[in-house]
Symmetry: none
Subunit: 237 residues, 2 copies
């Protein structure tokens, strides 16, 4: 699958360059263009589409000199341009966020952010694309099932980290993550228990939290008698 073409819309040159550089560092994405204001963004979108290389993803700033980001989005939709939008902005008013969702913003990044945050959002977007992009070779399977769609939506909106539920502590979570980094292959709750000297219950609770948050995958390990043991591993992009 070819790279996802990205358009960066941002008026401030420093931020604009930073975003472009970030895009360049991400595998699976390529920079299709940059625009400093709304008018040129819309014009670029039209030109690239006409050239047969339509933009698939727009990193859109909300505060631009000529148009508001929401206006740009509305005009895009009105013009039939269905590129996905990730909002990148310092605006944090709830009403704006709600409107952005309504108009089809798939992710919302609040400035300032680190590359890790940026990477996380774009990765989950890429995963979403992959899950819907593969009709999975199947002969007659032209469509997706409800669970397929659900899964795709889930990876689109999975947060990097939601606030810790009661009963979990930051330091323990860090220990578990640290151990996972070293054993990047696959880990079972029992292994974590033995390695970190904690109880099986605790180890399992943290692994389970990470799996629910979408950071980890969870799959049963077959082949041995007894109830299957869950095996946790980092999610592969």
């Amino acid at each position: 699958m070819s790279d996802i073409r990205v358009l960066v819309v941002e008026d401030e040159p420093v931020a604009s360059a930073a975003h472009a550089a970030y895009v360049g560092r991400m595998a699976g994405f390529m920079l299709a263009g940059m625009a400093p204001d709304g008018q040129s963004a819309l014009r670029l979108l039209g030109e690239l589409a006409a050239a047969g290389e339509p933009v698939e993803l727009v990193l859109l700033d909300m505060n631009l000199p000529d148009l508001h980001g929401l206006d740009i989005a509305r005009r895009m939709r009105a013009a039939g341009i269905l590129a996905d939008i990730i909002a990148i902005t310092a605006v944090r008013e709830v009403a704006i966020v709600r409107s952005a969702v309504a108009i089809g913003v798939v992710q919302y990044l609040i400035k300032p952010f680190t590359f890790a945050t940026f990477e996380d959002k774009l990765s989950s977007y890429r995963l979403f694309r992959q899950q819907l992009a593969s009709p999975e070779s199947g002969a007659g399977r032209t469509g997706a099932s409800q669970s397929d769609v659900d899964q795709a939506f889930a990876s689109l909106r999975a947060p990097s980290e939601l606030p810790l539920p009661k009963g979990l502590s930051v330091s323990t979570l860090d220990s578990v993550k640290e151990y996972l980094k070293q054993h990047s292959g696959s880990v079972s709750a029992t292994e974590v228990m033995a390695a970190l000297g904690m109880s099986r219950v605790t180890a399992r609770r943290y692994l389970e939290y990470l799996a629910d948050a979408g950071t980890l995958t969870r799959a049963p390990r077959y082949g041995t008698p007894g109830r299957p043991e869950n095996e946790y591993g980092w999610k592969r992009p």
Copy 2:
């Protein structure tokens, strides 16, 4: 907080009535109107907005007599109507799903569905609203933080879990389904055993469950010595 005003757009009277009834059964939602086609839907949206009671959520069928659902969504956006949209449709083509996401569909329900599924989707939408609606009491907190936004997006995630019979696990069932997607022709229990590394008994139990549920067909495979082997395949509708 007052109820969320819902507009049902659906041409078939039976389905339309069912959706309306479903909305009535959900706490926190109220039926604002019903439309059998795209034109009346757009007109109703305008009228209700003018009357000071704007629709906040549209349950939108994709196949309508006059306009396609995506067209309606596009015109809504062009007209500045920012109601959220939940697509309710039998269309399962991946391209449609992708376009729907791009234009701001927050949930995607594939017909036919049970009330449980419906309830699940609307509940998560309601949660999403609540999380963004509450300015969180805080003194100077006029806006949302990145984690606030993440959390709200996360509620739009669809965990959609339907109960399984005792003795079966979700992840194993997913593995089997995944393998079946890749080999859409026909599969035997022994093949699944070898491919997924599980025992023959387990593989057969899951295939048997899927066959009983009506998802799979089951036919004996003759020609070789030994008791005939059951062969499973996707049911052709």
